[in-house]
Amino acid sequence: MSETLKVKQALTGNEAFAFAMKQINPDVVAAYPITPATEIVQIFSKYVADGEVDTEFVAVESEHSAMSACIGAATAGARVMTGTSSQGLALMHEVLYIASALRLPIVLAEVNRALSAPINIHCDHSDTMGSRDSGWIQIYCENANEGYHSLIQAVKIAETINLPVMVTLDGFIISHGMEVVETLETDVVRQYLGKRKPLYNVLDYENPIMVGPLDLTDYYFEHKRQQIEAMKKAKDVIEEVITDYNKRFGFDFPVFAEAYRMEDAEYAILSMSSAAGTMKEAVDVMREKGEKVGLVRLKVFRPFPYEVLQEFFKNVKAIGVMDRSDSVSTMGGPVFNEVRSALYDLDTRPRIMNFVFGLGGRDFPLSDALYIVNRVKELKEGKTLDFVEYVGVRE
């Protein structure tokens, strides 16, 4: 048991993110408000106004500018954070790649929301899935408590491997829902994080460097290869940081994925974020009926922890993968595609299907969760099913 004093607070997801940011006390925050993430920087800007943080707050006119300002500050060695959602993240898209390629450990508090059109402010994962190839580490949290702690861990992860990290919470479901969050003391957080040791500093005029030069055919490939290597190493860093955090402060947060009742599972569901809570309930209901079903909640989506999933699923006969977005590829969602690819090399390959659900904040009741478990049971029993089903959509 850790002796660190922990304080229980009732916070919404946005408040938990903002409170973590206050304790982190970044050097620079540049942000633009967007529903449902508005509150994160709205609350944080109050901390700035009240002098509770030393942060330089840059109020910009768009998310593209927000991320650009973050990049500028980070190249000068500052600890930098921002928050956004949906269209805002999409508007940052171009600059996200620059942040990761320049190896800047920017931390982004992201609230998952659907992308237009039609305009929809509610939860789905289309926004962050659109950024999945941008070279950012992506951590999907189940609840506000995990979001709070993951944001603090994200700073450590980012600054150890020098890659940017986005930590996500489901829009409204978590961002605006209130729950008990077990927070650390501010001193403890600041001591844990220490000062950022930047890879380079563009303002160091004693040792001048050039950042973001033209690469063309000569060196671009080599630089990309280097970035891929950093993402590979990020797996070790993520494991070390979260394991150390758990030990230090007395928690048991999962590293890459959480296994729920998987010990003797014959079939399983893979879910992410808040839907995993409902799925756990469905697993419990089925377990009471004697069904050997389990759940794996995928937490880190980038880098993709395929080795971990291979280990979890090596003895499972059938899997249902849940996607809260669709890649409109006619081949199911992004999580499904990657999980299916990860399991291709298993000696006994499980049967696998995809469930696209909850788009645009469509409610995901227990009855739908139970439907999914029952479909995967049918799959396990040998029934032929379509490889992708859309759950909760009106026919």
Binding site: N162, Y200, I209, M210, D215, E222, H223, R225, Q226
Partner: protein, 99 residues
């Protein structure tokens, strides 16, 4: 020069030594080259003023600036120097470049 592999490059795509365009010799782009005649030159400096590549070399002689030649490492052969050289003087003319 042997190009570096990905393991040898500094992280973050930075360039550790601040480069200047002086290291990037662009003279080979030329198809025509300016030829300067020191005997005709009146040191009016119009060529120096108009040269887009700072390729006209000035040197100090007895405390006075004088044109002393053309830097072919960077001269792209645009011909502006020959064009602006006063017509009665014609101290610079263009010739076909052969490398």
């Amino acid at each position: 020069m042997k190009k570096k592999g990905w393991k040898e490059l500094p992280e973050g795509a930075i360039i550790e030594k601040v480069p200047t365009s002086q290291e990037f010799k662009t003279g080979s782009w030329r198809t025509q080259k300016p030829v300067w005649d020191p005997n005709k030159c009146t040191n009016c400096f119009l060529c120096w003023l108009y040269c887009p590549d700072s390729s006209i070399i000035l040197k100090e002689v007895n405390g006075e600036p004088k044109v002393s030649g053309i830097n072919y490492d960077y001269c792209k052969g645009c011909g502006i120097c020959a064009e602006v050289c006063p017509p009665k003087i014609k101290a610079i003319h263009m010739e076909k470049e052969e490398f």
